[in-house]
């Protein structure tokens, strides 16, 4: 998973979305209880399994966390949330799981693999991604029902796939995708290369992809939101650092980074 280039001007799009959601969003994130701050200083290696859509944001948080806690090295494993959930249930040695949907987190919960209650640390919404300049003139979701258009989504078990299914249902359109990718990166690639005319991705992906592609916003009443939970894995090799990292993410510094990459604050 490669670092994507951030474009500040794309923040305007995010800002307008944030305004649209002002009614139901809490503008301030819940501050973590001060007491939850680790009693001991975190050291050693921390392994974080995180959804693909968190790549750029978490890389930055990782850098900042390492700077604030010298002696800690954070290692990330980015992949589709369903793949990560499978790996964790089969015993992969992760300290933290940050998923792109509560569903995948529930899989891990069901296997009793958390030592703490998952906390929602961010939210994301869908957006239509089209080729730069929107050559197919896609204006709304109903345009995607056009059989001549090649539309790509994630596979249904993957969070961005479930998101797409929900969005289409909200809009009442029937879309037949030509491919169901295993993670959102596959969708971005196909649209960026011009193979697909449009794809359903996260708002953050459009932001991260800069001028290579164009985003077509989805109206609030048709859009769907996905909550991102984060939790420490039971038996985590580095429990101290894990707790500290989760606090950081939920704290003002972490939330600032998430916002700068286009994520929405947690909805609950």
């Amino acid at each position: 998973m490669f670092r994507r280039h951030i474009k500040v001007l794309a923040g305007t799009g995010v800002a307008s979305l944030a305004v649209a959601l002002a009614a139901c969003s809490s503008s301030t994130s819940s501050a973590p209880p001060a007491a939850a701050a680790s009693q001991a200083k975190p050291t050693g290696t921390l392994v974080v399994f995180a959804a693909t859509s968190l790549t750029d944001a978490f890389n930055k948080i990782g850098d900042q966390f390492e700077a604030a806690n010298p002696g800690v090295t954070v290692k990330f494993n980015y992949n589709g949330s369903s793949s990560l959930a499978t790996q964790i249930t089969q015993g992969a040695p992760a300290d933290i799981f940050a998923s792109a949907s509560p569903t995948n987190m529930n899989t891990v919960t069901a296997a009793s693999l958390e030592s703490s209650t998952p906390k929602i640390f961010a939210a994301n919404q869908g957006e239509i991604m089209v080729e730069a300049g929107n050559p197919s003139h896609v204006k709304s979701l109903s345009d995607l029902a056009n059989p001549a258009l090649k539309v790509v989504t994630c596979a249904p078990p993957v969070p961005c796939g479930a998101l797409a299914t929900q969005i289409f249902k909200n809009a009442g359109v029937t879309v037949k995708p030509v491919s169901q990718e295993q993670n959102v990166g596959g969708v971005v690639t196909k649209v960026s290369l011009g193979e697909a005319d449009a794809g359903i991705v996260y708002v953050t992906d459009v932001l991260a992809n800069g001028t290579k592609t164009t985003g077509v916003p989805i109206p609030a009443n048709q859009n769907a939101t996905t909550d991102y939970p984060i939790a420490e894995i039971k038996g985590a090799p580095n429990a101290t650092a894990a707790a500290a990292f989760i606090s950081y993410v939920l704290g003002p510094d972490g939330q600032q980074v998430m916002k700068s990459f286009g994520f929405l604050p947690p909805t609950s």
Binding site: S82, T86, P157, V178, S179, E181, Q182, G186, E195
Partner: protein
């Protein structure tokens, strides 16, 4: 010619046994981990049947393409004398060392809708390869054909070409020499090449999902279906589908061993 009775060297036996077990244990794992209780329903599910059908059609088509186009290429590499032959051989075997996903991206850049070959193709004929079964065949051929070319080229090089001279001196036309002398002599390499190619095409994943995409009933071959199941935590289905693939491959491999052993 009689041989002394074959004796088993203990060191050889131990190492060979370890190697054999290394391969056998994962297969045992598959068999024991399979959902035998409801395996019939999984195997006959629409996902499984569609994926199997696509896999078989695509892999056979790729093998046929490898034969039709790979054989002349192997011939050229084995018999031709022209500058740049070594480079050509290197290029045609590159897919063997490239990670399949890289191959998929390269295929998109060449034959995709905006690719430098794909774009004129699309405007001339309206045909696009990605997201179709044809795309799957293209991806599988790309990764599998080099195996065929290498194997057959090696066979052509190692045959005694003077036998072809002998045939001509007995009155055989070039066509007769090819059909009656050359082909029978390289048959073992040819057969090995076909099996290897088919097996590689059957198992192809990275280039397929990148170039052709993943859509059940259209482009979702067995490996793709297995991967999607596995990554969606539908391990039961993944294992059952894997078993089908293993059985199919095993049948072909064992069958091939038999025939070449009988020669």
């Amino acid at each position: 010619m009689s041989r002394a009775k074959w004796r088993l060297n203990p060191l050889v036996a131990v190492l060979a046994a370890l190697a054999a077990l290394f391969f056998i244990f994962p297969l045992v794992g598959l068999v024991t981990g399979a959902p035998w209780g409801h395996i019939t329903s999984v195997i006959t599910s629409q996902t499984a049947l569609q994926a199997l059908e696509l896999s078989i059609i695509a892999s056979l088509a790729s093998t046929a393409i490898a034969l039709a186009f790979g054989f002349p290429l192997a011939w050229l590499l084995a018999r031709g004398q022209f500058p740049g032959r070594g480079l050509l051989r290197g290029l045609t075997t590159l897919p063997m060392v490239l990670p399949p996903v890289v191959g998929g991206i390269a295929l998109l850049l060449a034959y995709g809708r905006r690719g430098f070959i794909g774009r004129p193709l699309a405007s001339a004929t309206g045909v696009t390869l990605p997201f179709s079964l044809a795309g799957v065949v293209v991806a599988e051929s790309f990764v599998a054909m080099p195996f065929f070319v290498i194997t057959v080229e090696s066979g052509l090089r190692s045959m005694n070409r003077r036998l072809e001279d002998a045939a001509r001196s007995l009155g055989a036309s070039r066509r007769t020499v090819f059909l009656r002398v050359t082909l029978p002599l390289i048959w073992p390499s040819l057969a090995a090449g076909l099996v290897l190619t088919w097996a590689r095409a059957l198992g192809e994943f990275g280039a397929t999902i990148t170039f052709a995409g993943n859509l059940p009933g259209v482009t979702q071959t067995m490996p793709l279906a297995i991967y999607i199941s596995q990554s969606s935590n539908m391990t039961d289905e993944a294992i059952a589908l894997s078993l089908i693939l293993v059985v199919v491959s095993l049948v072909v491999m064992v069958f091939r061993r038999d025939r070449s052993g009988a020669q």
